[in-house]
Symmetry: C2
Subunit: 299 residues, 2 copies
């Protein structure tokens, strides 16, 4: 499996994992000679393409030397041309598929940087130079102002027209369901069949599974009762302790959800996402489409 390396990550169980980006000890170094602009361009381009080809180890921020490169890429035509290329390939593939009459042919879309663009947010936060800040990002999500990625909206509408069912599978939390729906509709997306978000607020179920009753986490002092429990517990922006499937990597979470789709009788014909963790794992799609994203990495 591509993702075994993540499973090997030795996370400190005392540190609560954040919802999107886990902390990695590795420092990103791409060995740049200072002052050589052309070499810098080559190296940063190489780093970006290595990411698109899933060759990079987990990373937390973009290489500091590549801030200007990533900004130029994201704000210039290259990003748009790359997005259009991937959408066009997806469309051509979709057209080549003979859909069955049972209506069970589905296309899975990720949301952030796949259907909706958070570029306005990342433009204010260094295009990936800054470490991900879930509190700040949640504020942005709460505005429901993320614009559509135009080429994805076009593909989305074409797929619906061809008779595909569309499933949205996102790493966003259930608590952001209504704001996510508002944002998607505002951006022009409609008629999805399912919107699957990460479940939350199930600590009671988990504790019951351990044979334990309710625990007041906020006042709990001492060694962790259960290593796994600490991995699964997350403190949200309001200070509320919630047990989510946030403790899983996106690869594991999205694989589980795809497996449920398959068990429900759906055929996952296509899958579009900006992260390899949207696409790899189990119950993979017949074909997957990796949208460009050099700004952040989700395992």
């Amino acid at each position: 499996m591509f993702f075994t390396v993540f499973a090997n990550e030795k996370l400190d169980p005392h540190v609560l994992p954040r919802p999107l980006i886990l902390e990695y000890p590795e420092k990103v170094e791409i060995g740049l000679k200072q002052g050589d602009k052309e070499e810098l361009q080559l190296k940063c381009s190489s780093w970006r393409v290595a990411g698109e080809a899933n060759n990079l180890s987990p990373w937390k921020t973009i290489p500091s030397e590549c801030g200007e490169y990533v900004k130029n890429y994201m704000m210039g035509r290259a990003y748009i041309v790359d997005l259009e290329m991937v959408s066009k390939e997806a469309e051509n593939y979709a057209k080549s598929v003979e859909l069955s009459s049972d209506g069970n042919d589905i296309w899975v879309f990720d949301v952030d940087e796949t259907l909706l663009s958070n570029l306005p947010y990342y433009a204010d936060h260094g295009y990936g130079l800054e470490v991900f800040d879930s509190t700040e990002f949640d504020k942005w999500v709460g505005k429901a102002m993320a614009p559509a990625i135009e080429s994805s909206l076009k593909l989305y509408d074409e797929l619906l027209g061809m008779g595909f069912k569309v499933f949205l599978l996102t790493g966003r939390s259930e608590r952001h369901r209504s704001i996510t729906i508002e944002n998607l509709k505002k951006a022009g997306f409609r008629d999805w069949d399912k919107l699957i978000l990460r479940e939350s607020n199930k600590p009671a179920d988990y504790l019951a599974g351990l044979g334990l009753g309710p625990i007041d986490f906020l006042s709990f002092v001492g060694p962790p009762i259960d290593r796994q429990l600490c991995m699964l517990v997350e403190e949200d922006a309001n200070g509320t302790i919630a047990l989510e499937d946030h403790g899983k990597t996106a690869t594991v979470y999205k694989s589980e959800k795809r497996t449920e789709m398959a068990e429900d009788g759906y055929r996952i014909v296509g899958n579009s996402g900006d992260q390899w963790s949207d696409l790899l794992g189990t119950s993979m799609s017949d074909r997957s489409f990796k949208l460009p994203n050099p700004m952040y990495y989700i395992p």
Copy 2:
């Protein structure tokens, strides 16, 4: 699975498949505006990156508009910088792995465009603009003159030093075994544990499996006896009919060989290849490294 689309390819069973590149009906079009050099650069770069991210449908030749772009990429520093980036990532990953004492940790390498460079050949054949010609390519292979990809040789030696066993898994035929060994040694590669090539000359076994005796294929006229048989039969450069596992896609062939490795008790810690068909399928490596190659595509 990523590769189901290949399995769906409707191949004419009357046409004998060629060893490396299958024929596809699709014409590669990337929608270029003529005369806009910057736009051409953007589109060709987009096409190349889409290939590296496994977003493209099967293709037989590079887009004709991108001949100059691919030539410049392959002959300039960008290709070397990209190769070095991938090798460096692979090396860092390899160093992070704790090898077991049983000596069963292996690294799988593809050969062409992974360890050995056929760039001198492709430079004489349009860098992918020309349809693959197995007869011509076999002549080049026969010279055993392919140079090492330097960054791969460095990685290769480092892996041996770390205690990895190295397995070479190539789409080349068994009949090229000795010339391949000669070329690899000449280029500086040594001490591999296994060199796995595509088997050939087993038509008798296959026919026996069908309950049939020997058949003179060269004089056989009429409808194919067996669809699968026609898929598996290949005419080699000497006009000898041989039954190979050439009829399989590389994805299937290499997956089968990796599964055999796993069954033999080996742990496939890393896998380096320039084609996604080197890396995807079953019994995948813990981590895979996709070396750049915009010149040809093998399903």
